[in-house]
């Protein structure tokens, strides 16, 4: 004799339903993918929305977290950082923006794509609320795409080059978002100087967590990100993603003007 309701609850635990190990990554790709047929939801906008969540750590939250996380929290408290994460495993790490840019200009290659990106850069410079800078280093490669999102407080511009993505983000310091991202202390984080300004180099794929308004930190064990160089200057946060070496990233950063 079995209790039917208990048996049904037990059955739920033993159903042979499909559960692909790749479904989470596939879902994420779809979430950041272009939405077709909606003029107000362009691919670039969607990609930027993902990239756009800008964080500023609430002061009380910084105090509440572990010392090992303090370095990152301190830095996050003075700037902004985009939160898009790669689904690729640690060690793979190319920019997802690079992928989206390929679909942004369908079929475009070489000079055609570069010309399109140049036009977009010129248009972005006319409307951005801050001065958009670009690297003059030849090894940076060609500019492949430019995206801008005005819905991010203060504005956000993403410049996609062949080898990396450069994000330039201005934030409204009077309106911090309710959630913040934080790199856990278990991930090596190196304090660096970028063109005379304090910054961070996160050389490895790293986990992401959240800080709520009360300062509690909760790790997200699902998402990971690749190498990133972060720094802030004159109210704009810069992020270079996709370069494997700190020296390469700093070389690009040094030529921004």
């Amino acid at each position: 004799m079995i209790d039917l309701e208990l048996a049904l609850a037990d059955l739920a635990e033993h159903l042979d339903h499909p559960a692909s190990e790749h479904s989470a990554a596939e879902l994420r790709r779809r979430l950041v993918a272009p939405v077709r047929g909606r003029r107000d939801f362009r691919p670039s906008t969607r990609a930027l929305l993902v990239a756009a969540a800008v964080c500023a750590v609430v002061a009380t939250g910084v105090v509440a977290i572990a010392p090992a996380r303090q370095a990152v929290a301190d830095w996050l408290g003075i700037g902004a950082v985009e939160i898009r994460r790669s689904d690729l495993p640690p060690g793979a790490a190319p920019s997802t923006t690079s992928k989206s840019s390929a679909s942004t200009v369908p079929g475009a290659t070489g000079p055609v794509r570069t010309a399109t990106a140049a036009r977009r850069l010129a248009a972005a410079r006319k409307v951005a609320r801050f001065t958009i800078v670009t690297p003059s280093l030849a090894s940076a490669g060609a500019l492949a795409d430019v995206e801008i999102d005005h819905r991010v407080p203060g504005g956000l511009v993403a410049l996609t080059y062949e080898r990396f993505t450069l994000l330039e983000i201005a934030t409204d310091p009077t309106e911090p978002p309710p959630l913040a991202k934080l790199v856990p202390g278990s991930t090596p984080v190196q304090r660096v100087t970028v063109s005379g300004r304090p910054g961070l180099w996160i050389a490895e794929a790293h986990e992401i967590g959240y800080i709520d308004r009360s300062g509690r930190f909760e790790s997200d064990t699902v998402r990971r990100s690749g190498p990133v160089l972060l720094w802030e200057r004159d109210g704009v946060t810069y992020r270079i993603e996709g370069l494997r070496s700190l020296e390469d990233a700093q070389a690009v950063a040094a030529t921004l003007s």
Partner: protein
Amino acid sequence: MDPISDAELVVSARSGDVDAFTVLVERYRLPALRLAYGIAGDEAEDAVQDAFVKTFRKLHTFRPGSAFRPWLFTIVANEARNRRRSMSRRASLELRVREQPQSAATAADAPAIEHDQRRRLVAAVNELADNHREVVALRFFAGLSESETAEVLSCPLGTAKSRLSRALDVLRTALGEEVTL
């Protein structure tokens, strides 16, 4: 450490924060999959994927202050129903139980339900009418409360309760002396 609430995550996800939405996905993926499996069988995974994508894109229509869970499961159930309607092979709707044996630790803690009993129970569930199977999936596979089940079904609580009661009666009849009331 208390987890971040659904409401907080929804606020962030509404502004385009995929990471925040991913936390919601991980929180509800398994019950959503069980619900979709109960309604659409082998189409469950695709139904859940579509449902989460639609949920993310519909977040701007979500009414602040209302419960996220029944809203999400309404979308999951709708997607699963759509899949069920468009399926050509009825056989793929048939539910199965996993065949692998339980671990010793699980077996020790589990209620005294034998694998053969599960198979007879799932066979009985497979014979339920669609509306009965759906209410069973909402209440027991997804683990929704009676009021949440009613919300997903867009019906009064009493209607949901009576539908569930009838579904359980059908199962009891099918299983005969094997179950208690």
